[in-house]
Structures are given as C-alpha cells and as structure tokens.
C-alpha cells in the first residue's frame, strides 16, 4: 500500500473511516426501540382490557410473555441484520437495558416470593408497593442514560417527557385501577417508539 500520504490526509482518512463505519453500524439502530416500544404499548392495552373485563390483576403476568416474545423478535432482528460489529456504545446500551430487565423481573419475582412467605407464615397486614411508579422511573432513567450515551439529546428529552407524563398519569388515576397499566402505553410511545423512529431516520438519512 502507498505510504506517501501527508499527515493531514492520514487524519482525514481516520476521521472519514470512523464516520463511515459509525453510519453503517447505526443503520437499523432504532428498530429494537420501535419493536420493544410497540410490544410494551400493545401489552399494556391488552392487560388493561383484560383486567378491566375480568377484574383480576393476574393478567400482569402477560409481561413475562411479552419479554419472551420480545427476546425472540430481537434475536430475529439481530440475525437478519448485516454483519455489523457491536460498538462500545451499543455494548453499553445493551448492558443498561439488560440491567433494567434484571431489576424489573427480579423485583416482580421477589414480590411474589415475599407474598408467598407472608401467606405461609400467616403474617397479617397489607403492604402496598408502588410498582408502576417504580418501573416507570427505572424505565425513564434507562432511556435518559441511553440518550446521553448515544449523545442524542432528543432521546433523553423524550424519556424525561415520557417519565413526567407517566408519573402525572399514575398520580391522577385511582390507586389499584386497571387504568394505571396504561402508563406503560405512554412510556412505550414516548420513551421508545418516538426516539426509535428518530434514530432510524437519522441513521438512514
């Protein structure tokens, strides 16, 4: 290969190669957000409808089915993508959302375990845990961190707006009402689908 290129050309080559490679890697980066946002929004509507009709909050177990379905879809999405390497940013984002999943699922499982222990040990009294609020805050936080990592203020802003709207919604809806679950519809649309569409357009521009 030729070695007679100037210092300026070398720096230009480095910059252009990294920029081109980043554009390739950014292709379809919004698709997982759109996918998960759609799943969250659709699941919240289904749970709300079934909970309202039957009166049982047990339909919340559908979140586990959604997670499994999302995992399968994400695998398909990744498999069908071009052979694009993961960047440090995509690795960090993956870990942020992985920990969100672990915390959300772990917390839910823990609540069930504690409920069973209390039942078995005949411990009386009612303990109220504001699960919707907690998950809303966690999801908003992860979205805002993702936006900062990607250096995309729009994504962070969408997450902040989504979290604020969701918290207001939760506080306005009566405690224990099936309507509370629709907070995830707001989060799905504002924190995932809209930023996903913005990222997708930006990457494919």
């Amino acid at each position: 290969m030729e070695n007679n290129f100037s210092a300026e050309n070398s720096l230009r080559l480095i910059t252009e190669t990294i920029e081109r490679s980043r554009r390739t890697m950014a292709k379809n980066s919004g698709k997982p957000m759109i996918l998960w946002g759609s799943l969250v929004a659709a699941t919240s509507i289904v749970i709300w409808a079934l909970w309202t009709k039957t009166g049982t909050p047990m339909w919340n177990l559908l979140w586990f089915a959604m997670s499994a379905l999302g995992g399968i879809f994400t695998h398909q999405l990744t498999r069908n993508r071009e052979k694009v390497p993961a960047t440090e940013i995509s690795r960090i984002l993956g870990k942020v959302w992985m920990w969100f999943g672990i915390f959300a699922t772990g917390f839910y499982v823990l609540l069930w375990v504690v409920a069973l222990i209390r039942y078995a040990a005949h411990i009386d009294g009612v303990v109220t845990v504001e699960m919707t609020m907690l998950l809303t805050m966690m999801m908003g936080l992860c979205g805002a961190i993702s936006g900062s990592v990607m250096n995309c203020k729009t994504v962070s802003a969408c997450s902040v707006v989504a979290t604020a709207l969701s918290v207001i919604f939760v506080l306005l809806v009566p405690d224990g009402s099936p309507l509370q679950i629709l907070t995830f519809l707001i989060l799905g649309v504002f924190a995932l689908i809209i930023p996903g569409v913005i990222l997708q357009r930006k990457a494919n521009a």
Partner: protein, 103 residues
C-alpha cells in the same frame, strides 16, 4: 522542527499505510469486527486485506480469531491494547507534524 527543539516523533510505518490505517480506525471504534465487514468498509480485495491483517497481527496490534458462525467460517479481528497505544502515538505524531506546519 518543533519549538521545543526535539525532532518530530517518527510515524509508525506499520500504521502509515492507507489500508492498515483504515482497518485500525474501524477496530479502534468498534473494538472488533469480522473480515467481511472490514472488507466492505475499506473496499479492499480479500487478498490484500488478508496480507495487511497478517502484518498487523504479527506486530501485535490486532488479534485474529478464526471460527464459525453457524455453518459459515468467520474471521474476527480484535484490536489489542498494544494496537490502541500504537494508534494513539501515531495520531499524536500526526498532530505534532500538522501543528508545527501551521506555525
């Protein structure tokens, strides 16, 4: 010569080559990438790319792992700490050339 009177830092001849520099730039950002991706991004021929990757590997700047993804063979290149340091030194040297040229 730079103001401090020292000679210019020598440019690493291994990195001062268009294709090897392009490969290292991609790996610096991505950490690792497979052969097919590097070939597509650099526009190099398979033969030329193989030769340049071999040189970078021999210098300890990258690690090359050959394996399979499903039934397809896959060659993955990963930048090493030595490669990152060499790249940082190379860029620093380039900057010193440019800044002294602008004076």
């Amino acid at each position: 010569m730079p103001e401090n009177g020292k000679l210019f830092k020598p440019l690493d001849p291994l990195l001062h080559s268009e294709l090897r520099l392009a490969v290292m730039s991609i790996l610096l950002d991505a950490g690792s990438a497979d052969f097919v991706y590097l070939k597509a991004e650099t526009g190099a021929t398979s033969g030329n790319l193989s030769v340049q990757l071999d040189k970078l590997q021999q210098a300890g700047y990258i690690e090359v792992t050959k394996g399979f993804k499903g039934k397809m063979p896959q060659t993955v290149c990963r930048i090493t700490d030595e490669g990152r340091n060499a790249f940082a030194n190379y860029v620093e040297a380039l900057r010193s050339y440019i800044s002294s040229g602008n004076r």
